[in-house]
């Protein structure tokens, strides 16, 4: 029944409320993403960006509201079940497995894939995006620089060959030149057809590459619109682009 009620959006989040124990982090978040879009979610620290991603990926189960992906209800899933449906999340702070090698970190992303050939192909593709990883295959993930870890975290997610890629503050703590590289790759991935949900505090760069954006404040979506519209919006300019 709920299946029928959902609309045709690729991902549709409706009125979700998520909690950490007693603390309510989301007070009814609504958003949707269509296939092929880059959508960005911006907001200041503690606004609920990460919690929104975690609710979609199943790391946090919303107490109220619904989430549909390709028409399927996913808000009751455990994280690995949602991941198997094709949603990959690159977590905030990268969360590389520090004592696994770069190669193993990537292989974890392909855990569900049985076909060795397919795994090798994906590995090659990932190394195409991030040639740096190729030189470091046998190094423990924890010994890499911040930028390299971000690339590894993205590469690991790409090993899942996701339909929807969610990135949580990929530019955090990185030098501008690395940030540029990361954003270039996000654009490239999108050009090749990948749907992307990008969470950023770095609003300017995020809005530049996004088709649409949402602004979240203390657990509520307060604004939504085209990337270019939000960029010129008075509130956004004052709060996030200053």
């Amino acid at each position: 029944m709920t299946e029928m009620a959902s609309t045709n959006h690729f991902l549709e989040v409706k009125q979700i409320e998520s909690f950490y124990g007693q603390i309510q982090a989301l007070n009814g978040v609504d958003l949707y993403i269509d296939k092929g879009e880059i959508v960005t979610l911006i907001g200041s620290n503690g606004a609920g960006k990460s919690t929104t991603l975690k609710s979609i990926s199943g790391q946090v189960q919303p107490k109220k509201g619904t989430i549909h992906f390709e028409g399927k209800e996913i808000h009751k899933n455990q994280a690995h079940q949602t991941a198997l449906l094709g949603i990959a999340q690159v977590p905030e702070g990268r969360r590389i497995f520090p004592r696994l090698t770069v190669r193993e970190n990537l292989l974890v992303g392909a855990f569900a894939v049985k076909d060795k050939k397919a795994i090798a192909d994906r590995m090659e593709r990932v190394c195409g995006y991030f040639p740096r990883l190729k030189e470091r295959m046998d190094q423990p993930g924890g010994t890499m620089s911040g930028g390299e870890q971000q690339m590894l975290a993205m590469g690991r997610a790409l090993m899942m060959k996701p339909k929807l890629l969610m990135l949580d503050e990929p530019s955090m703590g990185l030098a501008p030149i690395i940030v540029q590289q990361i954003f270039d790759i996000i654009k490239e991935l999108n050009k090749e057809g990948m749907t992307i949900l990008l969470v950023e505090q770095n609003a300017y760069q995020a809005l530049q590459i996004a088709n649409r954006g949402y602004v979240i404040q203390t657990g509520n979506i307060v604004l939504e619109g085209k990337g270019s519209e939000l960029m010129t919006n008075q509130l956004v300019r004052e709060a996030y682009l200053a």
Binding site: S57, G58, Q59, Q78, A79, H80, A83, L84, A88, Q89, P91, G93, R94, R95, F97, P98, R99, L100, E104, L107, V108, G109, F111, A112, P140, G142, R156, A157, M160, G173
Partner: protein, 330 residues
């Protein structure tokens, strides 16, 4: 004095290595579960004990069926150890499912899980005691022996400053099987997909689940492997030392846990090394304490000696000899 110590060295090595490998395999069970759940699974020592009893139960069964005389001892041994390992492995999975997982779901504090594991430890001890008394009339059981041929290493004739060392054929069985288990486990953890998943879950459970890994299933696999190895080691212990009771898992468990801490809790190779070291130290102490202290302390103080070593190691290297590489959390 030194001469005396040197004389006994060959026997100390034989006994120390046997005991050390037993500690090593049991230590792995503690360290794997700790690595993944940060839980000291006190029941693990009793899984070892249960393995010893299940193994001897099978041996008695085979005797009563008249199979012992018709089958080669090695074959009987293999059947018994594999069956016992499967059963204790299953028990480990069941215990995790029934006792630990519900606590995890509710985010219960770690202390609660620890106390639960102590409770399970008592339950296993009493259950085994009950069954043993019911079946044999006594909870101390003398197991049938399979490999009791005695060999002598005649090292004295080559190097006269050594005494000869003696061992039973079961020593070789214990040695070979524990080494196979240790190498097998090392390969499993480092070279297979499930081993990799286990390491990933140990390092970052949340992120592993984002990468399609079913964390609960990995935890079940961990409990199965650890408990199967623990139970198999119980069978080896039963063959090597002959007499078992429901409380052997307690002391041995604490020592194996000590070995795990010695090697750096959570570190599998560290646990192997810690076990071997502890076995050797303990047997060295058993053979020489009396000589070293001029008769003040006898070999019965060997455990104190082992624990003093542990305390010293922990004072100077709290993360254990091979402590885990630190995890940087951003």
């Amino acid at each position: 004095m030194l001469q005396h110590i040197i004389q006994l060295l060959p026997q100390v090595l034989v006994d120390g290595i046997t005991l050390g490998f037993v500690y090593a395999v049991v230590a792995i069970g503690y360290t794997m579960v700790y690595g993944i759940l940060e839980l000291i699974n006190f029941a693990h020592g009793d899984i070892f004990m249960t393995g010893a009893f299940i193994g001897s139960g099978f041996l008695f069964l085979f005797i009563s069926l008249g199979l012992m005389s018709s089958l080669p001892a090695l074959l009987v041994f293999l059947i018994v150890i594999i069956l016992s390992a499967m059963i204790t492995g299953g028990m480990g999975v069941a215990i995790e499912r029934v006792a630990y997982r519900p606590l995890r779901k509710r985010n219960a504090p770690k202390l609660i899980a620890l106390i639960t594991s102590i409770g399970i430890s008592f339950i296993l001890e009493d259950l085994v005691r009950f069954i043993a008394e019911w079946k044999t009339g006594n909870y101390i059981v003398t197991a049938p022996s399979l490999f009791n041929h005695t060999f002598t290493i005649d090292i004295h004739s080559i190097m006269p400053f050594f005494n000869n060392a003696k061992f039973q054929s079961s020593f070789i069985v214990v040695l070979v099987v524990t080494i196979i288990m240790l190498i097998g486990l090392d390969l499993f953890v480092n070279k297979t997909k499930w081993g990799m998943a286990m390491r990933a879950v140990a390092q970052d459970r949340e992120t592993a689940s984002l990468m399609t890994i079913n964390v609960n299933r990995v935890i079940s696999v961990t409990f199965f492997v650890g408990s199967a190895l623990g139970g198999a080691t119980g069978v080896l212990f039963m063959l090597q030392y002959g007499t078992i009771d429901p409380y052997i898992g307690f002391i041995l468990g604490i020592k194996a846990f000590t070995a795990a801490v010695l090697g750096g809790i959570g570190n599998i190779r560290g646990a192997m090394f810690g076990g071997l070291m502890l076995g050797l130290i303990e047997m060295f102490a058993a053979a020489n304490l009396s000589t070293l202290t001029g008769g003040l302390f006898g070999s019965e103080y060997k455990d104190v000696f082992a624990f003093i070593i542990l305390i010293l190691v922990l004072i100077f290297k709290p993360e254990g000899l091979f402590g885990k590489a630190t995890i940087e959390k951003v």
